[in-house]
């Protein structure tokens, strides 16, 4: 079948099945048209220099149909204490939840009941490349979360996206998060998929923090072993707002995580912490851009990578400081552990600075386990393999030191521990 024709059929079906407002249908048509002309980005595109999407372009993916909801139970992660838990299976929410304090609804329902609320988020999506167009054309559902002004919403909102699909399915999602002035929230976006099925998913987030808002965001990516997954988060921060963003890429076959952060108001702060764990033939690409468009903002980035087997890690972290963004304080660090002679890392920590009264630093390091630390552990009677695991786990768990909420800290630790099964339990985890 002709590839274009295949995509056209997928698109037509999606349009037919979704009664969208006219503006959205129009927008989707335009995006699809652009997508049809450009297709998937290639390695010649500087933004995709190290990530090959050819296999995606060569597969005919089908939009997933309704799923029998039995197959997902064993994929479910641990419960986060006191959390609001929303579960999507193959792109569909399986049980509605509402809250009196905040607005919480699916994209589908919001489009039916209150489309004006989210129209600007959908129309103002930053169209950087054809992947955005693909998502705009095909994403029909997702979550919409609005935290009202001065609401301190203490329950973590756990959005769980499960992928149980049959071979060559695809799911495209779109989430919208808005924190009004002075609002506080914790959101956990969690993708978990079944192994051994090839599927393709994109998940786009538009997040906006108004003045004095506080967001703690966790992004967990534990897709199936044959999954292709592209995550793109657009994060806008107004005056005095504060974001702590954690990003964990632990599985998936080919994963691209993009974060486009922008300070639009002064005195705001953003802390990004990332961990990527590459095993088997995994390819994990983090593409991070921080825009200091206004003065007096602070940003901090720490991304750590562990690459084993034949995995390939990519890190691209750019800090842009605009002409008037004086007194910017931006720090960035990328550290990588390479554990196998077939593993590979490409890293590009970048600074682009147009203001003069700034303090910016970046660093990248690539290395191995500290021989001395290893020897120390061994001399204390610890088996060499376990000592190694301990050090690797320690390198990874370091990313959790900024996780302040204790319930989430416990959750994160447990979750990461799944990937280090030989590790003995640590003393503080025994209680």
């Amino acid at each position: 079948m002709n590839t274009n024709l295949h995509w056209q059929t997928q698109f037509d079906n999606s349009i037919a099945q979704n009664a969208n407002p006219n503006w959205l249908t129009e927008l989707r048509h335009q995006a699809f048209k652009r997508w049809q002309t450009s297709g998937f980005p290639t390695l010649r595109n500087e933004r995709w220099k190290y990530t090959e999407l050819m296999p995606l372009a060569q597969t005919e993916f089908h939009l997933s149909k309704n799923t029998s909801s039995d197959h997902y139970q064993d994929l479910l992660p641990e419960t986060i204490e006191n959390s609001l838990r929303l579960i999507f299976v193959d792109g569909q929410l399986i049980s509605e939840l509402t809250s009196d304090e905040i607005y919480l609804a699916t994209l589908v329902n919001t489009l039916k009941q209150n489309p004006a609320k989210i129209e600007p988020y959908i129309t103002n999506k930053n169209s950087i490349d054809s992947i955005t167009d693909l998502n705009t054309a095909l994403a029909t559902d997702g979550m919409v979360i609005f935290i009202p002004a001065n609401c301190n919403f203490t329950r973590p909102i756990h959005l769980i996206y499960l992928y149980t699909q049959i071979q060559n399915n695809m799911v495209h999602m779109q989430n919208i998060v808005h924190l009004a002035e002075g609002a506080t929230a914790t959101i956990v976006e969690h993708h978990i998929g079944k192994d051994d099925n090839r599927y393709f998913s994109t998940s786009f987030n538009s997040i906006k923090l108004e003045k004095n808002a506080n967001l703690t965001y966790y992004r967990w990516q534990e897709q199936g072993s044959d999954a292709y997954h592209i995550n793109r988060t657009q994060l806008m921060q107004a005056t005095h707002s504060n974001t702590a963003f954690f990003s964990f890429d632990l599985k998936g076959h080919l994963v691209r995580n993009e974060i486009f952060q922008e300070f639009i108001g002064e005195n705001a702060e953003c802390k990004l912490t990332g961990l990527y764990l590459g095993r088997g033939k995994q390819h994990i690409d983090n593409y991070i851009t921080l825009n200091h468009a206004v003065p007096f903002c602070r940003s901090e980035q720490l991304f750590k990578g562990i690459l084993d087997d034949r995995s390939h890690g990519v890190f691209h972290g750019k800090v842009v400081v605009s002409k008037d963004a004086q007194k910017t304080d931006a720090q960035q660090h990328n550290a990588n552990l390479i554990l196998s002679d077939k593993a590979e890392i490409d890293t590009q920590p970048q600074l682009e600075i147009y203001a003069d009264d700034v303090k910016c630093t970046h660093g990248a390091a690539i290395g191995q386990l500290d021989e001395e630390a290893l020897f120390y552990l061994e001399s204390r009677g610890i088996n060499a393999d376990i000592a190694k695991q301990m050090l690797i786990y320690g390198f990874a768990a370091d990313t959790l030191q900024h996780v302040e909420q204790s319930t989430l800290h416990a959750f994160c630790q447990t979750r990461i521990r799944h990937y280090f099964p030989e590790m003995p339990l640590l003393q503080d985890e025994l209680k």
């Binding site: 004086q326 390479i338 490409d346 970048q350 600074l351 203001a355 630093t361 970046h362 990248a364 390091a365």
Partner: protein
Amino acid sequence: MSQNNPSLDALLARDYEHGFVTDIESDRLPNGLNEDIIRAISAKKNEPEFLLQWRLKAFHHWLTMTEPHWSHIYYPPIDYQAVSYYSAPKSKADAPKSLDEVDPELLATYAKLGIPLKEQEMLAGVAVDAVFDSVSVATTFKSKLAEKGIIFCSFSEAVHEYPELIEQYLGSVVPYTDNFYASLNSAVFSDGSFVYIPKGVRCPMELSTYFRINAASTGQFERTLIIADEGSYVSYLEGCTAPKRDENQLHAAVVELIALEKATIKYSTVQNWYPGDKDGKGGIYNFVTKRGDCRGSNSKISWTQVETGSAITWKYPSVVLRGDNSIGEFYSVALTNNRQQADTGTKMIHLGKNTRSTIISKGISAGYGQNTYRGLVKIAKSAVNARNYTQCDSLLMSDKCGAHTFPYIEVKNPTAKVEHEASTSKISEDQLFYLLQRGLTTEDAVSMIVNGFCKQVIRELPMEFAVEAQKLLGISLEGAVG
């Protein structure tokens, strides 16, 4: 917010000192580029057939290429047909045999540039090969070097005297297909320098070339080839100047270095091409491909550059670390002021075992200058135990300038240790006040701080070059040397 100090501005606004035009009749080819021009260049130089064929292959390849635009520099499109690809001072027809035969006005030009050949011959112990526009004018010290078997001559001369060396090594580091500007250079290069250091010989003096673009709307396309045979050592210096002209001039050079087993090549550049005026009018477009090949084990190639000139600088002196235990180094100071733009850095390609590289880059941006460090550190699968340390620091001196750092690090071997550190900050008010309180003028205080900032690089330069570099940076010599 950041208000500029007036005397700091005055310091930065200092005029280009080398902007004089030498009035010499020159023998030049009509503007434009086609096969006939290439044949004409080759014929004028009476070149062997292999070289003509190489040039033509390069030209045909160049025609298939497009100008690269990935760098962080902006300039109006260049009309490659409006450039004259060959310009020689006329007296070259009967080439000078010694300095005495060289046009006195030419020699006066060099004197103005601060390189009095004759004096240097007697005093400085620096052998100079001076390239004026496109041809090599005089090479000093040739006889003394010849005693040790060292060859140091113009590229054209080497083509006639040592064609087998040229045929063996030309394009072996930078092939004619390498990139747009290197292909162009391969097709039209008119002269340059050639150095061969025989086995086990330590070159007793610094070898030096001065490049100068004089004629209007000519391009300069020189080519340098340095071969250090097993166990040899050479330190090579390159200086560049050009007169003030309103239009932009094109400079697309290629430098190839080959270090065989246990050989060391140290290559230092002070680049002071005309940068254009304060509004960005005129100035040299400097698109240069420089690459060294550590072909033998335990070899070492070290690049040091101080880039203060040119409207546009596009150059990435690189090292291919092929031999086991080989060492690559890159020390750079790049200063952009007014409307200057620089996109410069290095590539360290680690192929051999236990290879080590060091990158120290200091960028200074003032006025509306845009300064970009772009560097690649590549650790191939074969490069067991490779080490790289990179440090990039940027100093900002105005609120209109920009400083950018774009490193690329690619690692395919688990035994590699790679470290990259970068920082960007403005000149410190506290440091400035401290020095002012000790009675130094703003100008001296700024010079001192900038000099301190660049010290790690300046101290890598040979003495006489360090002096010139510091003068160029508007700073006085400060314990960095010796």
